[in-house]
Symmetry: C2
Subunit: 326 residues, 2 copies
């Protein structure tokens, strides 16, 4: 059976170039691409992934690993993924990692042992490069992992939109507020987009990322109260998730403060609509559909894009609108 | 291999009696019970269920069918079920029926074909007696189905608690409000409990069940507004679910009306805490744990109770409290 090395030799290019063409990555001239594809055809070469998936007998089961299920972003995503799996004739095996790295890895092994055709993962492990080693199609959701196809929303642009809506509501000292997230999480791009847009508009933004807390902890809010006490110039808040934004707006202790400045959230979950909170909405349903589609294409041995970035959308509601119409 | 008929003949009772003893149902004298158990032992009789589960090779996969995933009651339930399955060494296959009867039945067949060890179901089919015919352990959640073990919360007592909290807040004309539900749903018991408690306290309750709507539809609220317009005596509301209660309390159109009367919800999901809504909390996590435990026991061929009814708890918050402290 011909190898990638044989293809490289026959077409007179490096193995790396053949690999880039197979994975649809990097700038490759059309001439080289045609030459390599011809060599593949002549040698009757099948990429490993395809060979593997052709050999493997299909279970038509897809595994899904999420940090938790009972948070609206994830339950909506799971709903969409289940629906799409059903439409495509696949079953869904659902696993929760509880944000524990070890459990996440255990889940992957378990799903592998259970002969799922592929895995959708919202990974929280520090070094996710481990997923490139698995002999199993994997698609990452909400996070980029090198050499693993991913589906994310445009977090960077979302950050820009959040900055714009606060600046349009006349903020001079907007605050980014949320729990601290590891650098490898896509969420980081939201903050970058926000900072860049503020800098562009000559607005000096502030930041408060609370350590060692998840979104449900009291600590997040006590630190917020303390921070705005010390920084009374804060005149607008970009909260990194809708649920935290909702809790912030329902805090009786700082009701007078928080209800008199514009607030924008992120996610686009139902609570933001209910409480009239402006938000940068992620296309959660489409993210689920796209992820399942990519995974099934990988299972079928087809080539898939390495990065699928879906657009976000600003939904303005009274939490910012009323400050523009003053 | 001895049959149930052989056991009945040997112990001198009817097949129905043996069946009742096996399923732990109905009033049976201790004497009869001992006699039948002795006959079972003498004949080395194994109930079908047990025989079947011993024959069947285990997949250690449990199927879960829910009407939807992205509603807090269900996502919290799914979270708990996944967690418990994991602890017990089982995997979870998650299916959504979308409230469609046909799809629910299709899901059951699919799970059966995929050799799950058993199914947890939140059934929405009209005639659920179909589930007694399956050669597969099934446990029903949030609904009683004859001859199928079920896990529910104490909806009737929940209705009583809801009535009490409104009556304690001095309501003379409390309204039960929600979408119409089929009679076979456990939710009906909430209303019964509410009515019974009102009658006991000589309070005349009103009712509004909106037809052909799900909890997300506008119709629910336009009919509410119209109803209270025609029935201005309404001075308190028992809403059949926390999410509807939250939406009602956030309706700007009737803000003045709804914020000046006590409101109590049902479920105990996060939104009620966030908005300070009193609620009858279901033990959602424990319901999930209990359901998995029962199903695994059935899979292992053990006898399980037909009905497991878990207690509910009233959580009082400002939506009713401030009317008591006036």
């Amino acid at each position: 059976m011909p190898t990638i090395k044989d293809v490289a030799e026959r077409s007179g290019v490096s193995v790396a170039t053949v690999s880039r063409i197979m994975n649809n990555r990097g700038a490759i001239s059309e001439k080289t691409r045609i030459k390599v594809h011809k060599a593949m055809k002549d040698l009757n070469y099948q990429p490993n992934e395809m060979a593997r998936s052709l050999q493997r007998s299909k279970s038509h089961i897809i595994g899904l690993i999420m940090p938790l299920i009972d948070y609206a972003f994830f339950s909506k995503l799971a709903d969409s993924i289940e629906e799409t799996c059903h439409e495509r004739g696949y079953k869904l095996m659902l696993c929760k990692s509880g944000n524990h790295q070890e459990r996440e890895l255990e889940m992957v092994s378990m799903l592998h042992a259970n002969k799922v055709d592929g895995i959708l993962i919202c990974s929280r492990v520090g070094d996710a490069s481990i997923y490139t080693k698995y002999d199993l199609p994997i698609v990452s959701i909400d996070r980029d992992i090198e050499k693993v196809p991913s589906v994310t929303s445009d977090n960077y642009h979302g950050g820009i939109l959040a900055a714009q809506v606060l600046i349009n509501a006349r903020c001079k000292a907007p605050l980014i507020f949320g729990g601290e997230v590891p650098e490898y999480m896509e969420m980081d791009l939201r903050f970058k987009g926000f900072r860049d847009e503020c800098a562009k508009k000559n607005v000096k933004s502030l930041e408060l990322f609370v350590k060692d807390c998840d979104s449900y902890q009291e600590k997040l809010f006590t630190e917020f109260i303390s921070f705005v006490g010390k920084n009374p110039q804060v005149d607008g808040v970009f909260v990194t998730g809708d649920m935290i934004a909702a809790k912030l707006l329902c805090l009786e202790k700082i009701e007078k403060f928080i209800k008199n400045i514009p607030v924008v959230g992120f996610d686009g979950i139902e609570i933001s609509e209910l409480l009239g909170i402006s938000t940068v909405a992620q296309p959660i349903q489409e993210m689920g559909e796209c992820a399942v589609d990519l995974l099934i294409r990988k299972v079928e041995g087809k080539m898939v894009p390495e990065r699928s970035i879906l657009p976000v959308k600003l939904i303005e509601r009274k939490s910012t609108l009323r400050f523009r119409h003053e």
